[in-house]
Amino acid sequence: MSSAPVIPSGTVRKSPGMTMKRRRRLDTTWRLIVAFLFIAYALFPILYVIGTSLNPSGSLQSSQIFPSNPTLANYQKLLTSQQNPFLKWMLNSLLVSTTTAIITVALCAVAAYSFSRFRWRSRKRLLQGLLLSQVFPNVLAMVALYLILQQIGRYYPAFGLNTLGGLILIYLGGAIGFNTWLMKGFFDTVPRDLDESAMLDGASAWQTFYTIILPLVRPVLAVIFMLSFIGTYGDYLLAKVMLSNTEKYTVAVGLSLFIGQQFGQRWGEFAAGAVIAAIPTLILFYISQSQLQGGLTSGAIKG
């Protein structure tokens, strides 16, 4: 680590004749220059792919990032392609991610409530067990999961290999581990007096959970939903292993095969697909800017 480049953290070296104001302005200037260089670095591939998607020639070769005569031809070609049902992929992805995220939130919320509010003998051990179960990420069990879905498919074709149902089941296996932890931390910050008094008024545990606690923990529910959605939407490996039929692909698998062959000619369509596929996560990212920060930090501070 000693080889890390050395950056002055607060100020630049002072030259005696400079006034405070000038020095500060100089300091801000070089910070801005660095920032803009980095922004160029960060945005360059993104602008490039947007530009390509609007490029009528549809090939990679283009000396300027934005074409002089932009068209939507690539989008039209992509959405009407018989060979690559892109819209179907998007729908598959949205369906799988939304379903997984909703069920994950539901499963974790009830589990977190129990961990946060009830006291029983093996509570601690189970909580530790949940955390330890995350040591073995389920991508490592891909072979077993593949064989398991194969087996399930013999009896329940809707949840076998090459089905979205089967894929959702697999994603749900890893749902409650870490997320329950995060949620429990947040639940702990809700004062117990609230549910105590509700219970004194005769509310059952379920009523207390549903009417008192749930509305108060909405931020963390949103965070788990978003984390789960983004994680599922971006999953490449498990979807690639389990899905084998073009019609069943999620957009992560479909888009990657799009330019496997005949790279040059398909590039315009790929770029259009990339732009569309990025929209859901960008929207969530935009919404979550404040939510995510607030939800995560308050979840981390235990009561």
Binding site: S9, F118, R119, R123, S204, Y236
Partner: protein, 528 residues
């Protein structure tokens, strides 16, 4: 919640554990739902048992028992809330892990991929037409449920039968509602429609290979007018654990899950059997695997360490730059800087692949040292792409950590005459490493298994000469994937599972060390 509230004292426990609001309907619904879930799990387990898939069946039974106990006993009320999530955890996370371990000690692979019972059944379904079998006349029939059957007449004896798939032949005398025409062909019978003669060709093509009757005695339609009697080709002999060919008398003995004859010919499908540690010894001693495996093993570590290091350095540089109150438009700049983080890698990696394309890419067409063909430059290329993908995350967490370092420490250091360089080395860096150390280890574990970027960049290529599926940029997880699903000569699930276990041991050790380091496991006990 370190402080226990009054509610935890014994008297209130019972009331807090009562779940239902007393509604009878709710109670009934609960039990109906419970019965459905348990019934479903038990039924599935029973089906799996029929196929001889004992471990998976046992998992289903245990889960069903667990749920029943949890929802019936009063003392397990808190578990009822966790049970739904636990079911998924058991069936799709814990069982797969156990199954992976089991698979690693078997020869599960293409051609050995069903349970023994299923394999035997499937082989016993095969039939043959015996030498000198009589030629039969047949008439197509259609059952009321749409399935096919035939009417067979032996021209030599004049005997007639109704032949239905998977059932014994029914003699004409036992067929209800039978009305025969002058040529001995039925004109009507209960439950079946006699099809017109112009349907015969269609019928033959639709029922090719279908045996009307049982495997022991049945018939197949061989042309539009003729049918031949068939016999079961293979019979399983439990005494020698072998398949006996009824036609030739050849014996196929079970050899590690495949029925094999003395001359090496086999009948498929086969089934996996336990082969002990041979998958592991294969990795360590087989020259086809040992060399590639060692290279991939080393590169996986190099890749993960360099990925963490480069993103950390760049992220820190950027965070130090942006960590100043005087910069205008902080929020906007920050959003733009972390934009790469907001787009899924399956998109951005491919965009970079496009940029580096040697003929058409904006970068690759200008400067191409072999981004996808040279072993060295492919690795450089992937690291370059991962730098772009990964620095925003480091930037975010380091910026957060920097802002939590108290400013007066810097003031004190300045008073003591420490220059910026000294402050960074002795103050900023050590404090940073303490607070984000665990995240760095997490990042190491993530990159260790970062399949997406490796596969999307170049499918692990360029290929290693003479090393089968292995490529120069393959890491262990992508190698596992290729062994299991990417082979041109078939898939070796057993070997892939063995490699998974090696990865697991490494990543598991790192993760548990991380838990220990951060005290996350102990935190549970503090929090009780």
């Amino acid at each position: 919640m370190a402080v226990k509230t009054a509610g935890e004292t014994g008297g209130r426990k019972a009331s807090r554990f009562s779940e239902e609001g007393g509604s009878t309907l709710g109670l009934i619904l609960k039990y109906v739902f419970l019965a459905l879930v348990v019934g479903f799990l038990t039924f599935s387990g029973w089906q799996l048992l029929q196929d001889g898939s004992y471990p998976f069946a046992a998992t289903f039974f245990i889960t069903a028992l667990f749920i029943t106990l949890v929802y019936v006993r009063r003392t397990t009320v808190p578990l009822r809330w966790i049970a739904p999530g636990l079911i998924f955890l058991i069936l799709f996370q814990i069982y797969p892990v156990v199954f992976t371990v089991y698979t690693a000690f078997t020869n599960y692979s293409t051609g050995r991929n069903v349970e023994k019972q299923v394999a035997i059944k499937s082989i016993e379904n095969q039939t043959y037409v015996p030498e000198g079998a009589p030629t039969l006349n047949w008439t197509p029939l259609q059952a009321d449920d749409g399935t096919a059957a035939i009417w067979v007449i032996d021209p030599a004896t004049g005997e007639a039968h109704l032949a239905i798939p998977d059932q014994e032949w029914i003699p004409a005398a036992d067929v209800p509602g039978l009305v025969l025409g002058p040529d001995g062909v039925p004109t009507s019978l209960d439950g079946y429609t006699v099809q017109a003669n112009n349907q015969r060709f269609l019928f033959v093509s639709a029922n090719q290979g279908v045996t009307f009757g049982t495997e022991e005695a049945g018939a197949q339609v061989t042309s539009s007018v003729e049918a031949r009697e068939t016999k079961q080709k293979y019979v399983y002999d439990p005494a020698q654990d072998a398949m006996v060919d009824q036609q030739t008398g050849k014996v196929y003995v079970n050899q590690e899950g495949v029925f094999t004859a003395d001359d090496g010919s086999i009948v498929t499908p086969g089934f996996p059997v336990v082969v002990g540690v041979s998958n592991f010894t294969k990795i360590l001693t087989d020259p086809n695997f040992r060399g590639p495996f060692a290279r991939i093993f080393i590169w996986t570590f190099v890749w993960a360490v360099l990925s963490v290091l480069e993103t950390f350095v760049l992220g820190m540089f950027l965070a130090l730059t942006m960590n100043s109150p005087n910069i205008p438009m902080q929020r906007l700049l920050r959003v733009l800087l972390i934009l790469p983080y907001a787009i899924p890698p399956f998109i951005t990696v491919k965009v970079w692949v496009g940029l580096l394309n040697p003929i058409l890419g904006m970068i690759g067409s200008q400067w191409n040292p072999g981004w996808f063909t040279s072993p060295f430059w492919s690795k450089v290329g992937i690291l370059m792409v991962n730098l772009w993908l990964g620095y925003p995350y480091m930037f975010l967490i380091i910026l957060g950590a920097l802002q939590s370092i108290p400013q007066d420490m810097y003031e004190a250091a300045k008073v003591d005459g420490a220059g910026p360089l000294y402050q960074f080395r002795r103050l900023t860096l050590p404090l940073l490493l303490v607070s984000i150390g665990p995240l760095l280890i997490g990042s190491f574990a993530f990159n260790f298994n970062n399949f997406a970027i490796i596969d999307l960049y170049n499918q692990g290529g360029p290929p290693m000469p003479g090393a089968g599926v292995a490529g120069f940029t393959d890491i262990l997880i992508s190698y596992t994937y290729k062994i299991a699903f990417g082979g041109t000569r078939g898939n070796d699930y057993g070997l892939a599972a063995a490699v998974s276990i090696i990865i697991f041991i490494i990543v598991g050790a790192v993760t548990i060390f991380n838990f220990r380091y951060t005290g996350q496991l102990e935190e549970v006990s503090e929090n009780v």
